[in-house]
C-alpha cells in the first residue's frame, strides 16, 4: 500500500492548483424586491439555465399534506390566460425546457434555453407567466389532483417507496419533515384550488426566492433577467424558521409486509443540518463508512465479502434542519437478518474505533482529487448555486470545500461520530416478505 500513499499525496498537490482554476466565479446580489441572485458566466455554450428556488417545500404543508407539491405541479398548467398546451408549445417551439418540482425543504422552477434573443426572449416571457401568473384553472386542478392520487397508489407497489415514506414518518414524528411530500389519499382529496392559491401567494414571493443563473450572458444581462423574473412577484416575506428536530429516544423497528422477494431495509436517525458545525467530520467519516460506493466499508462487508446485496450504503441528506442519516440495503427475504446484523456491526465498529489513517488519507484523496468533477458542467454549477443560495452558505463555499476536507482528522471523526450517531436509538424500517423478527438490536 505504500505506493498508493505517495500517489495520493502527489494527487492532492496537483489537483489543488487545477481545482482552483476550475472554480466558478460566483456573482451575487439582491433584486429590488429582495430576492437573492447567484450568477455564473459560462460563455462556452450558447445556452442558459435559470432557476428560482423557494422555501416552499412540503415542510410548509402544515395541516394540508401535498399542497406544496400540487401547487408546484399546477404552475405550468395554465398561466397569464394561456392554456397548458399554449405554454408547453410556446416553449418547445423555441427548444426551451421547463422544469420544476418540490421536496421537503424547497420548491423550484427552472428554464433551460438557447441564448439567441429570438428564442430566449419569448421563452423568458412564458417562463415569467408560469412563475408569477399561474391561473390554477379548475379543470387542470381536478386532473392533476387525480394524477397525484394515482402517484400515491403507484408508490404502494414499490417496496423501496413504502420503506422511504415509513422511514421519514418514524424518524420525524411530529416535525414537518415527517409528512410525505405527496401527501395522503385523504389529504390530497381534501385540497381545493383556493388552498393552492393561498399557498402560492404566501410562499412564491421575492423575499423567499433564490434566483440562479448560469450561462452565456454577461452580468448586466443576468441582472435584467433576475429583476424581470423575481420582481414580478410580490415582495412578501420569508417564512419563519422550521422547528428543530428532536432526537430519537430509543430504538424502534417497523415491519411492513409486502409480497416482494426482497426486503428493503432502511435504518437511521436525524443527521445533519446544512450549516452544521460537525458537517465535515461526519461527511468525510461517512464517505469511508458507506458513502463512497464499492470501496466503502458497508459495501465491502455486505456486497463484496458476502454477496448479500446489490446496493448497500449509508449517507447524510443535509437539510435546513437535521436531514436523515440513512443506512440501507435490499436483499432476499431469508438473508435479511444476516445482512442487518452485518450492517449494525459495521456501524458500531466504525463508531467504536473510527477510521484508520490510511482510510482517511484515501477518502481525502478521493474527495479532493475528484473536486473538479463536481463543477464540470453548467447543470452541476446550477445545482450548487441553488444549494448555496437557498441554505445561505457562504459564497466561497466551493473555494474552501477542499480545505475543510483536508483539515479533518481521525480524532475529529471519532469524536463527532460518538457524539452524534447513536445506533442504540435508531429507527429500522423493513418492507418485505416473511416474518418480522429476530433482527431487533
Amino acid at each position: 500500500m505504500q505506493k498508493f500513499f505517495t500517489l495520493a499525496l502527489a494527487a492532492i498537490l496537483t489537483v489543488l492548483t487545477s481545482a482552483a482554476q476550475a472554480l466558478p466565479d460566483i456573482k451575487s446580489w439582491q433584486t429590488a424586491k429582495g430576492a437573492k441572485v447567484l450568477f455564473v458566466a459560462a460563455p462556452e455554450l450558447p445556452m442558459v439555465d435559470v432557476r428560482l428556488v423557494f422555501d416552499a417545500g412540503s415542510s410548509r404543508d402544515g395541516d394540508q399534506p401535498g399542497v406544496a407539491k400540487l401547487t408546484s405541479a399546477l404552475l405550468d398548467q395554465g398561466a397569464g390566460g394561456l392554456s397548458a398546451d399554449e405554454i408547453a408549445r410556446g416553449l418547445e417551439q423555441r427548444g426551451a425546457e421547463l422544469g420544476g418540482g418540490s421536496r421537503r425543504d424547497m420548491a423550484w422552477i427552472s428554464l433551460r434555453s438557447l441564448v439567441d434573443p429570438d428564442l430566449l426572449e419569448p421563452s423568458l416571457e412564458l417562463f415569467g407567466k408560469v412563475l408569477a401568473k399561474p391561473d390554477f384553472p379548475a379543470e387542470d386542478f381536478a386532473r392533476e389532483q387525480k394524477r397525484m392520487l394515482i402517484g400515491l397508489q403507484y408508490e404502494k407497489q414499490k417496496p423501496a417507496a413504502i420503506a422511504k415514506k415509513t422511514f421519514y414518518r418514524e424518524l420525524y414524528g411530529s416535525h414537518p419533515y415527517a409528512s410525505h411530500p405527496a401527501g395522503t389519499e385523504d389529504s390530497v382529496k381534501a385540497l381545493g384550488v383556493a388552498d393552492l392559491r393561498s399557498f402560492y401567494q404566501h410562499y412564491y414571493v421575492a423575499r423567499n426566492a433564490t434566483v440562479v443563473i448560469v450561462g452565456s450572458l454577461d452580468e448586466s444581462q443576468a441582472r435584467k433577467i433576475a429583476a424581470r423574473l423575481a420582481d414580478s412577484l410580490p415582495e412578501g416575506q420569508r417564512p419563519p424558521p422550521l422547528p428543530p428536530v428532536a432526537e430519537l429516544e430509543k430504538a424502534s423497528e417497523v415491519f411492513t409486509e409486502h409480497p416482494s422477494s426482497q426486503s428493503h431495509v432502511l435504518m437511521g436517525q436525524p443527521g445533519l443540518r446544512r450549516k452544521d458545525p460537525d458537517y465535515f467530520p461526519l461527511y468525510v467519516g461517512n464517505h469511508i463508512l458507506g458513502g463512497s460506493g464499492l470501496v466503502s466499508r458497508i459495501s465491502e462487508e455486505i456486497r463484496e465479502k458476502r454477496g448479500l446485496a446489490y446496493s448497500a450504503y449509508s449517507y447524510f441528506i443535509p437539510m435546513k434542519e437535521k436531514g436523515p442519516y440513512q443506512l440501507g440495503f435490499q436483499t432476499r427475504n431469508d438473508q435479511r437478518d444476516e445482512a442487518l446484523q452485518v450492517l449494525r456491526e459495521t456501524l458500531s465498529g466504525f463508531i467504536g474505533s473510527g477510521p484508520t489513517d490510511k482510510e482517511l488519507a484515501a477518502a481525502k484523496s478521493n474527495i479532493v482529487s475528484g473536486f473538479p468533477l463536481r463543477v464540470s458542467s453548467n447543470s452541476k454549477i446550477s445545482e450548487y448555486l441553488a444549494v448555496i443560495g437557498f441554505y445561505d452558505l457562504p459564497l466561497d463555499y466551493l473555494n474552501t470545500f477542499t480545505t475543510h476536507v483536508e483539515a479533518v482528522t481521525v480524532e475529529q471523526i471519532r469524536d463527532a461520530w460518538k457524539r452524534r450517531i447513536h445506533p442504540d436509538k435508531m429507527v429500522t424500517v423493513i418492507v418485505g416478505g416473511g416474518e418480522a423478527g429476530s433482527s431487533s438490536p
Binding site: F4, A8, A11, S18, Q21, D25, A41, A42, P43, E44, L45, P46, M47, A84, D85, A88, L91, E92, R94, G95, A96, E97, L114, R143, K146, R147, I150, Q157, P159, G173, S174, L248, E249, K250, E253, F255, E257, P259, S260, Q262, G293, L294, V295, E300, E304, K305, G307, A309, Y310, R332, A362, S365, N366, I367, S369, G370, P372, L373, S376, A436
Partner: protein, 455 residues
C-alpha cells in the same frame, strides 16, 4: 478554465459554433481510439466499449455479458480484486460500467491529468482477468439480488421483460440483459472464461476519451498501454434476424401491483437495417415519436393526459440507433375510471390520425427545434458526448452518424411521417402487453415489532 478561456480567445467568439474536434485513431492491434476535446472544465472521461451484450448471447447463458461486467472488477494478477476501484477512488475518480443489448462499457471520470491511470488499469483487465471462482460465486449472488430489485419485485419491469420475450421470436433482443434467473443459477465460471476469451480483445474494443485532454498525448498513452495487447480472432456474430410477424400478439402479466399498465410495440427498422433506398425512414420514425411524446405540448400529453384525460401517463419511444431491428413503443397507465382497453383504443386512434392526416408544419417545426436545441444542451456533459460516440461505434454505425442524424431529422417531411406510420404501425406487427394487478395483500396491514417508538 471556465471564463479564462473566453478571455484568451477574445470575447465575442462563439466557441460552440466551432464543433468540438474529434480525433480518430486505429492502433496496429485493431483497437480504435476516439478523442473528443472539450476544454470547458479540467476533467475527462475515459470509456472502454466492447462489442458484446445480451444480443450476442444464446439460450442457457443469458446474462453472461452482464455478469462478466461485474467480474471485470474482480482482479488481474497485477491488480487483485478490489484494487481497481480503490486506485480510481484514490485518484478522485468516479467509475462504473454498464451492459446493454448491444454493448458493454466501462468508464472513469477523473481530473484531466489521469488518463494514464485509467488506461493502465483498463488495458490490464482487457486481457489479464483472473476470474477466480470464489469471487464469481459471490458476485453472481449480487447479480441475482440486482435482478430481484430491478425486475422480480417491479411489476412494470416484469411486464416489460415478458413483453419483450413475446414480441421477438428469433431475434436475440428477446433476451433480458440481466439474464433469466434460471440461467444465473446454473451459470458457471467456465461460461465467463469462455465469454471473456471470445469477446475481450483490443480488436473488439473502442476507447473513447472526452474532455480537457491533448489528443496526441492520449494517443501516446493508448499506444503505450493498449498497444502491446494481442488481438484475437473475433468471429462475427450471426445475423439472427427476427422472423416476420404474422399477426397481433397479446399477453397478460399478473403480478402484485396497484395500477394496470399497457405496453404496445410495433416492429420497426433502425438505421442499420433500413432499406438503403429509404434511409430516411428511421429518422421519420424518430420524428413521429417526437410528435407523440416530444414534451408536454406533444399529442399524448395534450390529448390523452389532458384533453380526454384517459391516461394518467402515456409515452412513445423509438431508438434509431439499435444494432438490430427494433420496436416502436407506446406505453401508459389509464387514469382513474378508465380501463386499459380504453387507453389502447385512444392510443390506436392517435396512430390512425397520423396515418390519415399529415402532421402540420408548425408541429413538425416544434419537434425539430427541440432536437436542434438538444444538440447544444448535450454538450454540457462530457460523459454524454463520449457515450454518444461509444454507442454509435459499438453498434457499427460510426461516430459521424451523430451529425448525420441531425441533418436527416431536419429534412423529414410531413409526408414521410405519414408514410412510416402507414407502413410500420400495423396490427400484424404489433405486440400488446397488459399488467393485470393482483392484490398486494390487504390482509396484512403494517405492524410493529421490536418495541414501540417513543420520541
Amino acid at each position: 478554465m471556465r471564463g479564462l478561456l473566453a478571455l484568451v480567445l477574445g470575447l465575442g467568439v462563439s466557441l460552440a459554433s466551432a464543433a468540438p474536434a474529434v480525433h480518430e485513431y486505429m492502433l496496429d492491434n485493431g483497437l480504435k481510439l476516439i478523442v473528443k476535446e472539450d476544454h470547458r472544465s479540467p476533467v475527462m472521461v475515459s470509456q472502454v466499449w466492447y462489442k458484446v451484450g445480451s444480443s450476442y448471447e444464446h439460450d442457457g447463458i443469458t446474462g453472461v455479458s452482464h455478469v462478466l461486467e461485474h467480474m471485470m472488477f474482480k482482479g488481474t494478477k497485477a491488480h487483485p480484486a478490489g484494487e481497481f476501484s480503490r486506485i480510481i477512488s484514490e485518484n478522485g475518480g468516479r467509475e462504473n460500467a454498464f451492459t446493454s443489448q448491444d454493448y458493454t462499457a466501462y468508464f472513469q471520470t477523473m481530473e484531466k491529468n489521469r488518463v494514464k491511470t485509467s488506461f493502465e488499469l483498463e488495458a490490464d483487465r482487457m486481457r489479464n482477468l483472473t476470474l477466480p471462482e470464489d469471487e464469481f460465486l459471490k458476485e453472481v449472488r449480487v447479480v441475482m439480488e440486482e435482478r430481484r430489485m430491478r425486475t422480480e419485485d417491479n411489476p412494470q419491469s416484469l411486464t416489460w421483460e415478458q413483453f419483450n420475450a413475446t414480441a421477438y421470436i428469433s431475434s436475440p433482443y428477446r433476451i433480458p440483459v440481466i439474464g433469466w434467473m434460471d440461467d444465473l443459477e446454473s451459470m458457471r465460471i467456465e461460461d465467463l472464461r469462455d465469454w471473456y476469451r471470445q469477446w475481450y480483445a483490443p480488436n473488439n474494443a473502442t476507447v473513447v476519451v472526452a474532455g480537457d485532454v491533448d489528443p496526441d498525448e492520449v494517443l501516446r498513452l493508448a499506444r503505450r498501454y493498449f498497444g502491446p495487447l494481442k488481438p484475437s480472432e473475433i468471429r462475427p456474430v450471426k445475423p439472427r434476424r427476427e422472423v416476420t410477424q404474422l399477426g397481433i400478439k397479446r399477453l397478460q402479466v399478473k403480478a402484485p401491483a396497484e395500477l394496470p399498465y399497457l405496453m404496445m410495440g410495433y416492429k420497426a427498422p433502425v438505421v442499420l437495417t433500413a432499406d438503403k433506398a429509404k434511409d430516411w425512414e428511421p429518422y421519420a420514425l424518430e420524428v413521429l415519436a417526437g410528435v407523440l411524446d416530444g414534451g408536454s405540448g406533444a399529442r399524448l400529453a395534450s390529448e390523452l393526459v389532458r384533453g380526454k384525460a384517459i391516461a394518467a401517463s402515456a409515452g412513445a419511444s423509438y431508438d434509431a440507433h439499435d444494432r438490430m431491428q427494433s420496436l416502436f413503443l407506446l406505453s401508459g397507465t389509464p387514469s382513474r375510471g378508465h380501463s386499459v382497453r380504453e387507453l389502447e383504443a385512444a392510443l390506436r386512434e392517435q396512430l390512425e390520425k397520423l396515418k390519415q392526416q399529415p402532421v402540420g408544419e408548425q408541429e413538425l417545426d416544434r419537434v425539430k427545434a427541440q432536437i436542434r436545441a438538444q444538440k447544444v444542451y448535450e454538450q454540457d456533459s462530457v460523459f454524454y458526448q463520449a457515450m454518444q460516440i461509444g454507442v454509435l461505434e459499438s453498434i457499427g454505425l460510426g461516430w459521424r452518424e451523430a451529425d448525420n442524424y441531425h441533418r436527416q431529422i431536419q429534412a423529414v417531411t410531413p409526408q414521410q411521417v405519414m408514410a412510416v406510420a402507414k407502413k410500420y404501425l400495423l396490427d400484424d406487427h404489433l405486440t400488446v402487453a397488459e399488467l393485470v394487478p393482483q392484490p398486494i395483500d390487504p390482509e396484512h396491514p403494517p405492524r410493529r415489532g421490536g418495541g414501540s417508538h417513543v420520541r
